[in-house]
Amino acid sequence: MLTVDRVAGASLALVALFVLWESRTLPLGSLANPGPAYMPVLLAVLLLVGGIAIAALGGPTPPLTSLAFPEWRHALAIFLACAFAALALERLGYRLTVLLVLLFLLGVVERKRPVATVVFAVAFATGTYLLFDTLLRVPLPRGPFGM
């Protein structure tokens, strides 16, 4: 049966195998003079052993189907908002990006009243820019028209 720990252990073992595969292009070196692949290979072997052990001992853990994701819609929306922020930050500038992210999260995801959403988003985007960029001199990206 597919249990939580069996799947988790198998996933860790796969990550370890991927690292071992990717390390093949790096020199392993010798015991007296370890190369750049030495430590990653050593760690990947340890992770592989750990992953197999977790999977092997994971029989009594709850079945994978018992995992609940009731918040998946929110989580997906937040993930998309963050991904948009990463793409837009240096193109649209800090203020515009944060404004759009907040409008999306508050207006679309949380369905807050439009006036409250706009006031909060504008105040937050401009207020934090003023605080960090202008007062604390943390350089934040500017977008079109110096926004």
């Binding site: 990653p40 977790i54 937040i78 993930f79 963050c82 937050f124 604390l136 943390v138 934040l140």
Partner: protein, 508 residues
Amino acid sequence: MLETLHNLAIGFSVALSPPVLLYAFVGCVIGTLVGVLPGVGPLAGISLLLPATFGMDATRAIVMLAGIYYGAMYGGSTTSILMRIPGEAASVMTCIDGYAMARKGRAGAALAIAAVGSYVAGSASVIGLMLLAPPLAAFALRFGPPEYFALLLFGLLVLAYMSSGSMLKSLAMAALGLLLGMVGIDQMSGYFRFAYGVVELGDGLGVVPVAVGLFGVAEILATAGQPVPPKVIEPRLRELLPSRTEWRQSVGPIGRGTVLGFLVGIIPGSAHIISSFVSYALERKLSKHPEQFGHGAVAGVAGPESANNSATSGAFVPMLALGVPSGPIPAVMLAAMMVHGVSPGPLLIRQQPELFWGFIASMYVGNLVLLILNLPLVGIFVNLLRVPYPYLYPAILAFSILGVYAVNGSVVDVWIMLGMGVLGYVLRKLDFETAPIVLGVVLAPMIELALRQSLAMSDGHYAIFFQRPIAATLLVVAAGMMLLSLRTFIRRGLDWRARMALAEKGES
């Protein structure tokens, strides 16, 4: 002793200068806010404010960041007592009896005992830090690569052992963290490893995006869709004074919590979380009325709150004296110090005494500021919890993006944060601890360098780790812990770590 007092006087001359005092105050206020807000925590708070310190000199920046750390420890107790929601993980145990006291109408007394206990423990443990760090630093000058490798390995194994839940899973997470720390340019050969042509990955994965992703973003992903928090119990100002009996009941637990917290704090691991759990268990064991625990026992608030604040100072001992962080929060503090050109380690106290002793003195000042700040202003801090979570989490998310971007001015860091957020979310669902990953990322370059230098020194013989007494002792102690952990596994009973995991899930 005279030299220590002289150095402390130098420290106070730094800490009591108006600009440093101001930054200590600002750090404490921000820390309290961070501690009050569920889901932010000291780690994310320090990470987010790190870029704002770039323009400051090192002493002011470090004093402010340390203020955030122990301010968050204070703030976390407020939500635990008034709402049964731990503001940060170390306050989990305070929830049990603190909230029970609040329901009996003793919310003010519980807050006062937590604040006074935290103050006493915080101040007393700084004395321990002051006395212990300099000799430890002098001793550490004897350390070579094998000793450092053994110490770092010991730290990771202790963290895995101390973590609640499965040690095997924690070790796997530490290995994963160390592997993530391998990304970037190899310091000895100059090879690019696992960077896939992304130039920004040359310096490796930054500890700030990793920590904010695994703790901050993962928390938001997991909790944003959940129902709103329960109602806040409002304390009245005149109720803040505990009764004489309550004072009497809290003296012993505060004293024991202080000593215990400091000792646990020095040991690598999530010290402040473990110390509060161990203190709670100890107080229940020593109590003449253990049946009162869970129903508003004063010792159940005084002990854990003192212990977690004392552990905060304890955690600074290995960080300042050896340059080795004992958990994820000291790891971020270490990264912050390095950003400011300060290298914690055996030579720090000798080369930058005004910074070290100024930092120590600022901790005394900070503890006093927190005591003065927290009790009368508790109502104001609690009001922050009235901001509905649907407004709060987008703001926290925007702060996370801002903070992570600002460290290096790179969107690659924002992507790393997002990736770590998803990883942290999935790992939470699968019941894995994420703290060892952060520590692994921080320790990876140090541990790799120490291992490769040791092997080069010994011409490839691993026996070097057992031929040097300090390294051998550390490795034998670590092996002993592994065996202890195996014993529990074979017996299949509930040891203290399993009980802690249950308590964290609210099943105690």
